[in-house]
């Protein structure tokens, strides 16, 4: 039975596939898919290195503090950071007093609700609060940035490239795709998937923030620092993960060598292992 029906079923699928293949080939030849502006002008993230890259990489806390400053003074006006609590900032090297001060001085306050009187009010943030939500009324939907570097391919380099990638729309693009002119209110950026995004260039000029550690706040430096900070917010435990990994691999390597020797010993009197 199987040997009778098997080949018939096989032929059925084979013919159906040939039918799809033939039709597909015909339409690919008769009406070939044209090139699109996204396909031709979209760029992969720039090649940029971060201290946390690679199996031996570790966060540069000084840089993370600078990146946090850029987030606080530039990004946080529109982008929330819901998975980070003020207390987490202690990991960047801030003292307890500094963390408390950062929380207290944070622009957006914590909403409160008095269940007895039904009154809504606000209070200052404290260290255990998560960074409060941002309500944004303008065009577009600024995404929460906590996980942004994990939510994009090559996330750190992507954020850096996006921040430094704003430019005039190339004349070549408009010549080739006259319909693809960047719409009003959007901005051309080849590192963004569909080339036009609603976010205006956030880091536009040098010294937009003033670093307290003396680092020159160039556009490139600020973009790199905030990208490094966003790699940290996406996975604050990354240093611990790699550190643990080396210990685990070391142990496993030793155990595997022992297991190999044990196996060799056990099989010594038998061929054919």
């Amino acid at each position: 039975m199987v040997r009778l029906f098997g080949p018939l079923v096989g032929l059925f699928f084979a013919v159906a596939l040939l039918w799809s293949f033939g039709n597909g080939a015909y339409s690919a030849i008769s009406e070939p898919a044209g090139p699109t502006a996204e396909h031709e002008f979209h760029l992969h993230p720039k090649d940029v290195k971060f201290a946390s890259d690679g199996a031996l990489g570790k966060f540069d806390k000084q840089q993370l503090q600078r990146g946090f400053q850029v987030y606080k003074e530039v990004c946080s006006a529109c982008h929330s950071m819901k998975h980070i609590a003020f207390r987490d900032l202690a990991q960047l090297g801030y003292s307890e007093a500094e963390v408390k001060a950062i929380a207290k001085q944070w622009g957006t306050k914590q909403p409160t609700f008095d269940a007895k009187s039904g009154e809504r009010a606000e209070r200052d943030n404290i260290a255990s609060d998560y960074i409060p939500a941002v309500y944004y009324a303008g065009q577009g939907v600024p995404p929460d940035l906590s996980l942004i570097t994990k939510a994009r391919h090559d996330g750190g380099a992507y954020v850096y490239s996006l921040l430094t990638g704003y430019q005039e729309q190339p004349a070549e693009l408009l010549k080739k795709f006259p319909d693809s002119k960047t719409p009003d209110g959007l901005y051309y950026n080849p590192y963004f998937a569909n080339l036009n995004l609603a976010m205006p260039q956030p880091i536009a000029s040098d010294d937009q923030v003033t670093y307290s550690d003396g680092t020159k706040a160039t556009v490139d430096q600020m973009a790199k620092d905030v990208s490094a900070f966003l790699i940290w917010t996406a996975e604050p435990s990354m240093d611990k993960r790699k550190q643990t990994g080396w210990a685990v691999l070391g142990f496993l390597l030793a155990a595997t060598v022992l297991a190999y020797l044990a196996k060799k010993n056990v099989w010594a009197d038998k061929k054919g292992a």
């Binding site: 699928f13 084979a14 596939l17 040939l18 435990s237 990994g245 044990a262 010993n265």
Partner: protein, 430 residues
Amino acid sequence: MSFAWAKEYKPATGLTQWLDEKLPLPRFVYNAVGAGYPVPRNLNYMWNFGVLAGFCLMLQIVTGVILAMHYAPNALVAFDSTEHIMRDVNWGWMLRYAHANGASAFFVVVYLHIFRGFFYSSYKAPREMIWLLGVVIFLLMMATAFMGYVLPWGQMSFWGAKVITGLFGAIPVVGEPLQVWLLGGYAPDNAALNRFFSLHFLLPFVIAGVIILHIWALHIPGSSNPTGVEVKAESDTVPFHPYYTAKDGFGLGVFLLLYCAFLFFAPNALGHPDNYIPANPLSTPAHIVPEWYFWPFYAILRAFTYDFFFIPAKLMGVLAMFGAILVWFFLPWLDTSPVRSGHYRPLFRKFFWFGLIPTMAVLFYCGGAPAAEPYVMLSQLASLYYFAHFLIILPLVSSIEKPEPLPFSITESVLGKDESAVLNATPAAA
């Protein structure tokens, strides 16, 4: 069960004697994976993957049960509770990465286990039942992994769930009501997430049960081996313990090194970045792709792009995708060559290395690629070969192929000569 020369369990202490009378569990273990189970002495490293698959299941159950203590299966908070595990639970990041990469490791191991079965025809009599149960385990694994991927409730979780449950909608007449009933709604939402969580917790234990049957069925004929020649005498075997426990111990070490390298240094390499974006029913990702271990079957699903007579393309794709695995059930009866091992089957071997393996590679690649040319046409040709390989080529090869001569016994294949073969040739000497 097992061979006449299998060692018998002898309880040494008073306690084990008492236990052996009341509940002979140590005896059971001794006969299953101890010195009481004689195994062919010539197994190569491809025979390590059964034990490794069992290890992966246990790893997934242990990490999964602990993750379930911290996870909240509610569409409003599921994504954030996953991040809570990553950030606030002690060693939560390690548990979650271990579980997510553990699923990938499980599939790597099981695919190698299955393809070992293909090459050495492990599915042939008298081991058909082991094979059939194995395919059931694989199907259960796929269902479990799919539902597990939905739980973090990211973009790929949601849209993957929508696409895969949408497949049921392709069934004529009852399809759409069935889909709504399965999801508990018109699109994946809280009802679907809750039942997926419940089933994701249940199915691994069903898998464990079927694995017990799989091993039970294995112990009746005993393990197959690279020559495909059955065990004839005691000299063909060694006791499972210590010989294969030692070998599996080394295999486990190598496996854990590779697995932990991913876990600690590239934990997101096998996942999709979009799943770190919370599920949003109003925003469709540019490319919806399942996890890597589904790519070959996803490519087959998408290969059917035109209606075939009165059968809609979508239904054809669904039939073919399930058919691609169901065909494995019939392998013991499609491949009728009396020779098991691919080592002694010249034609079979060519189709395996230059047909099936490259085809799987192409399907794998196309399944992860966007649904555009040339990937669609490539996956159509590869799917065609896939079905032809199992349903047409394999039966044909079995009937026209001239196998190469087999060794007299396992012992002969290992040592170059077998004393009992000489004795058999000259009965007078006995």
